[in-house]
């Protein structure tokens, strides 16, 4: 049984290598899926008081919760960016833009991954002015006012960086631009799961980044169009 398994594995790897040498698929079809969970005690997600901005407060039937550590049933972690941090050379910049919304005095999505050089459009869908203030360090920080009804802000980030975004007028508003070199990334949903597809065969380092608990990495080798699992467990602390 065991021998049979290794023989089958060997055959798969051999076939994978053969494909790499002779076929070189333009875009791969390997997949990495997994779940991000935590052990320990994360901070409580607290309701946000928007009473100082009635036009936003009334958009939420129940107050929205803080999202710096967003947890789900089964100790899952939402808003974790999982991406290929090594082994994925020469991905090109996509032509489509990514969209970031300010709605109900909240950033949607809370964490927005994108590629370096990719067009980014920022919308204000609210009846109040926001100032959008990405606190970039590697890229250049800027800070722009966006009153209601203004056209979207068109911009892009040139260098990979995890950029914290805030609105100084509404201090509870907080989000992230995650600027990556790779085009292979995913953000975990409420159930903590993610799926990165379209990977050519190769040896990769997969990194999971959480805004409060920083990064964790592991190596994954993809042969052919196989699907691999990579789970991440963060150690949660309440502060």
């Amino acid at each position: 049984m065991r021998m049979k398994f290794f023989a089958a594995l060997g055959l798969t790897v051999a076939m994978g290598s053969a494909m790499m040498v002779f076929a070189t698929p333009p875009a791969g079809s390997g997949t990495i899926t997994g779940k991000v969970t935590y052990t320990g005690t994360p901070p409580k997600m607290r309701p946000i008081d928007m009473s100082k901005e009635p036009s936003c407060a009334k958009q939420h039937a129940t107050p929205i919760l803080t999202q710096n550590v967003a947890t789900g049933p089964g100790n899952t972690l939402q808003w974790v960016v999982v991406y290929i941090s090594a082994g994925d050379e020469g991905t090109s910049t996509p032509s489509q833009s990514v969209r970031y919304d300010q709605k109900g005095c909240e950033y949607l999505p809370h964490v927005l991954p994108m590629q370096a050089g990719q067009q980014l459009q920022i919308f204000n869908d609210d009846q109040t002015s926001h100032n959008i203030h990405p606190l970039a360090k590697t890229n250049q920080e800027w800070n722009k006012s966006q009153p209601p009804g203004s056209p979207p802000i068109d911009t892009k980030w040139d260098k990979p960086e995890f950029i914290s975004v805030k609105c100084n007028i509404h201090p509870w508003m907080h989000g992230y631009f995650v600027v990556l070199k790779t085009s292979h990334y995913a953000v975990t949903g409420e159930d903590g799961s993610f799926s990165i597809s379209g990977l050519p065969p190769g040896k990769y380092t997969v990194t999971a980044w959480q805004e409060q608990y920083s990064s964790k990495s592991q190596d994954v080798t993809i042969a052919g169009s196989e699907s691999k699992t990579a789970n991440f467990v963060f150690t949660a602390t309440p502060y």
Binding site: P54, S129, H133, Q140, W142, N143, S145, S150
Partner: protein, 302 residues
């Protein structure tokens, strides 16, 4: 010990002490250079150009060591010996983020912007005016400041904001500016009467997370980036990078911007000015018709 021997010993001792003292102070005022791997401009070659004067970083380095190092530090990161006593903190030149610029938010300032900052100093901070230095010396310092960050090697300063001639100061202009102060949410930080007591004022931090206060118009203090109406126009249009004050250049038309300038002057109740006089006489007659600025007057206080 004879008197002569004593004198010689004393003199020798003094020389030793003086030398040791000099050595200590030299060590403390040594200016470091950024890691060459960062690719910042070279001190040997970096220059500035301000109104026909060419500044040289090499000369600026000596001036920096003499005049600036105490606060801005041997590494240019704003952590000099005096920094711990200073609020707001001295500028960190390694980030190349500057408040007073004529250029759009997120871009480098012009040489002239930096020269003006050194010349003017920053009122209400510990940064004095360096007007006593010659224009050549100030230009040299500008060139040296640009050797702390690789941004100066890779990026060009932004295109300076075009400021059209000021419009007439009229009550209509002030009233319209007042509506903008409400609509653009200036009052959320600066307060309904410009007292720096808006609902978000207490929560503000600069980009390093250090608490920062919004400008209080009511005291009549000069503005940090110059005190003319043109300066005021430029301040809110380009924003103060590194602070919570955003740029309004993309969202205010030039005529509206002048209206806002005229209204902001009326908030400076401790500083006699033309706009304030006009506004006070208007308010005496029509004060009751004015909706107050603040949360209860949704959309436009006019």
């Amino acid at each position: 010990m004879t008197l002569k021997n004593f004198a010689v010993t004393f003199a020798l001792g003094s020389v030793v002490l003086l030398t040791a003292g000099a050595r200590v102070s030299t060590a403390q005022s040594h200016v470091n250079s950024p890691d060459p791997l960062l690719g910042a401009p070279s001190v040997a070659t970096e220059t500035s150009n301000v109104a026909g004067v060419t500044g040289h970083a090499e000369e600026g380095k000596h001036l920096y060591r003499r005049f600036c190092i105490g606060c801005h530090g041997p590494d240019g990161n704003g952590q000099g010996m005096n920094a711990q006593w200073i609020d707001p903190q001295p500028r960190d030149f390694t980030e190349a983020t500057f408040k007073c610029r004529s250029t759009p938010t997120g871009t480098l300032p012009t040489d002239e912007d930096l020269y003006n900052a050194i010349t003017r100093g920053f009122v209400t901070t510990n940064m004095p005016s360096w007007r006593p230095l010659s224009p050549q010396q100030r230009a040299d310092l500008v060139a040296f400041v640009k050797t702390w960050s690789p941004r100066w090697a890779h990026e060009k300063p932004g295109t300076p904001l075009n400021i059209p001639p000021e419009t007439a100061i009229t009550i209509e202009s002030i009233l319209h500016g007042r509506g903008l102060y409400q609509k653009l949410e200036c009052w959320k930080c600066h307060g309904p009467t410009g007292n720096a007591d808006g609902p978000s004022a207490a929560t503000l931090t600069d980009s390093k997370g250090i608490p920062i206060k919004p400008f209080n118009f009511s005291t009549g203090d000069r503005f940090m980036c110059g005190d003319t109406n043109r300066d005021l126009y430029r301040i809110f249009m380009t924003g103060l990078d590194g602070s919570p004050m955003p740029s309004f250049a993309d969202v205010i038309q030039p005529n509206d911007a002048w209206d806002l300038v005229h209204f902001l002057r009326t908030l400076q109740v401790a500083l006699p000015n033309q706009e304030l006089t006009l506004w006070q006489s208007y308010k005496a007659a029509h004060g009751k018709e004015l909706k107050p600025i603040g949360p209860d007057t949704a959309g436009g206080a006019q």
